[in-house]
């Protein structure tokens, strides 16, 4: 059973609290629009000091095998019911930015996405949604080519593409040093549970794209981040306000060159990494790409801001196979 209040209840209360704080002049400028909702970091579920790493090859295998591996990975964290309560709304956010096939390791393995949707449904939520705002267009071709259309069908989840600007809402990022507001898709804002499921790959601008970077896909205008004084700081800023409930990194096949779009050189690591501390998950997963976590600026920035723990000696890593 999920502990604490639901994420959605928390955000509603936070919005109300933010309105009071704004009236008291505590919340800083709301960025571009005075209609931005103030947000405070939500309560975390599960143990942030625990990381689970599962090793097993599911490339080209069945949905059942992928589900078994994912279930084994989540077991040390208490299983999916730690995060998904009956009647809740779950949003799964894979990385589906580009028109690439799963073999090219530019997008999250659809087998893992199907497996996550399936596991979530077993916990009795009201709804499971798979969401992303693709970079390549047309979005429907991108979602099809990456296997997400099929993943949603097999996982009995709703697939939502974030290509309507009217579906986004301006929210403030009170602790943001560079990014002080963003337009976030209402599907994500309305989620009780946000499961962040990126693929591990290198990135031309940030070195690596893992969990925190993947959340860039829930905003409307990524260009604001790219043209800012520091993309890495924007990523860290956003994570102060919108950390996911659970981060699960697809490290089955990782992209080692020409990221984030690819194609490039890949390597089959056969890993899945899961945790509630987004910094710790990213810090561990950076190793899959050959990076020390402190070499990825947004991991270091987020750690400095208190989003999570970058020092893996202070985190218990449980390995399952």
């Amino acid at each position: 059973m999920a502990k604490g209040i639901s994420r959605r209840e928390f955000l509603i209360l936070a919005g109300q609290a933010g309105a009071l704080l704004a009236g008291a002049g505590v919340v800083r400028s709301l960025g571009q629009s005075s209609k931005a909702t103030a947000v405070v970091p939500r309560q975390r579920l599960g143990n942030p000091e625990l990381l689970a790493v599962a090793h097993g090859d599911i490339l080209g295998k069945s949905e059942r095998e992928a589900e078994a591996l994912l279930r084994a990975c989540l077991e040390p964290l208490g299983g999916i019911k730690t995060f998904v309560a009956p009647g809740s709304k779950v949003v799964i956010k894979p990385n589906v930015a580009f028109m690439r096939t799963p073999e090219q390791a530019s997008s999250t393995n659809p087998l893992l996405v199907t497996a996550m949707a399936t596991l979530c449904l077993q916990a009795g939520p009201r709804e499971v949604v798979i969401f992303d705002h693709t970079i390549d267009t047309p979005a429907d071709v991108c979602l099809s080519m990456t296997g997400m259309v099929e993943a949603a069908r097999k996982g009995k989840a709703q697939l939502v593409s974030g290509h309507e600007q009217s579906a986004y809402q301006q929210v403030s990022i009170p602790r943001g040093r560079v990014l002080t507001s963003a337009e976030v898709h209402r599907v994500v804002l309305g989620a009780d549970v946000l499961i962040n499921m990126p693929i591990a790959k290198v990135h031309g601008a940030t070195g690596a794209t893992l969990g925190m970077k993947n959340l860039m896909g829930v905003v409307w205008n990524r260009g604001v981040w790219h043209s800012s004084s520091s993309l890495d700081q924007c990523i860290a800023d956003f994570s102060t306000a919108y950390p996911a409930t659970l981060t699960v990194i697809d490290g089955q096949r990782v992209l080692l060159t020409n990221g984030p779009k690819g194609p490039g050189r890949t390597e089959d690591k056969h890993a899945v990494v899961a945790g509630v501390d987004p910094v710790a998950v990213d810090a561990y997963s950076a190793g899959l790409l050959g990076f020390a976590p402190e070499r990825v600026a947004h991991i270091a920035d987020a750690a400095r801001m208190g989003v999570g723990q970058m020092d893996l000696r202070k985190v218990r890593v449980v390995k399952v196979s």
Binding site: F98, R100, T101, E103, T206, T257, G264
Partner: protein, 200 residues
């Protein structure tokens, strides 16, 4: 190069010659034409690549930071190495998808440099130089992790074609990239003055 690829390249060369001749007719559009129009116009039409269909609404153009529309954060590598602008189009054939991106670089030297960087991103054993290219052209092809990539460059133009799907078609990728560069180069040339009897 495999016999099939060799055969593909022979066909390819013939098509390129025919295409360059017909593309020369377009040169009258060069004067005053925007870079966007020129790059988009140079991308192969679906009918030019047998069996492939251009995907409607897939055209994307970007300059400088606008390359994020094609590469997201990966744009920096292109801009930092001299890419001024790029245009992209997607094509479909059966269960396969192809993407062609035509870049306009600050100089021919920049095109050469970026091509070297892109080539180094593939495993050494999976990259081969393209042969049978016109003088002043360079190119390579790579097949890795479920895709065939072909990169061709000449002057300030660098085109990359990526094909993913059940059947990898390196020759088709080469054809697409070469057509894009060829049309772009042809569109740059000023119209040839046609002599009449009055000119003497």
């Amino acid at each position: 190069m495999t016999p099939m690829a060799k055969g593909g390249c022979r066909v390819l060369t013939g098509r390129i010659v025919a295409w360059v001749l017909s593309a020369a007719l377009l040169s009258s559009l060069a004067a005053g034409e925007s870079l966007e129009k020129r790059l988009i116009g140079a991308l192969p039409q679906g009918k030019e690549i047998a069996g492939w269909t251009a995907l409607p609404h897939s055209d994307v153009y970007g300059e400088g930071e606008g390359l994020t529309k094609i590469y997201d954060g990966g744009y920096k590598q292109y801009v930092d190495n001299g890419a001024q602008a790029a245009a992209r189009r997607v094509y479909l054939k059966g269960g396969m998808t192809a993407e062609v991106v035509l870049h306009y670089m600050v100089s021919a030297a920049a095109a050469n440099k970026l091509a070297r960087i892109k080539r180094a991103e593939y495993s050494p054993g999976k990259v081969k130089a393209l042969k049978d290219l016109p003088r002043g052209w360079s190119g390579f092809r790579a097949q890795e992790s479920g895709s065939a990539t072909c990169c061709v460059w000449s002057g300030k133009y660098l085109a990359a074609a990526v094909i993913a799907g059940r059947q990898l078609q390196a020759a088709a990728a080469a054809l697409m990239a070469r057509k894009a560069v060829s049309k772009a180069l042809a569109a740059e040339k000023p119209p040839r003055k046609v002599k009449t009897r009055k000119d003497g």
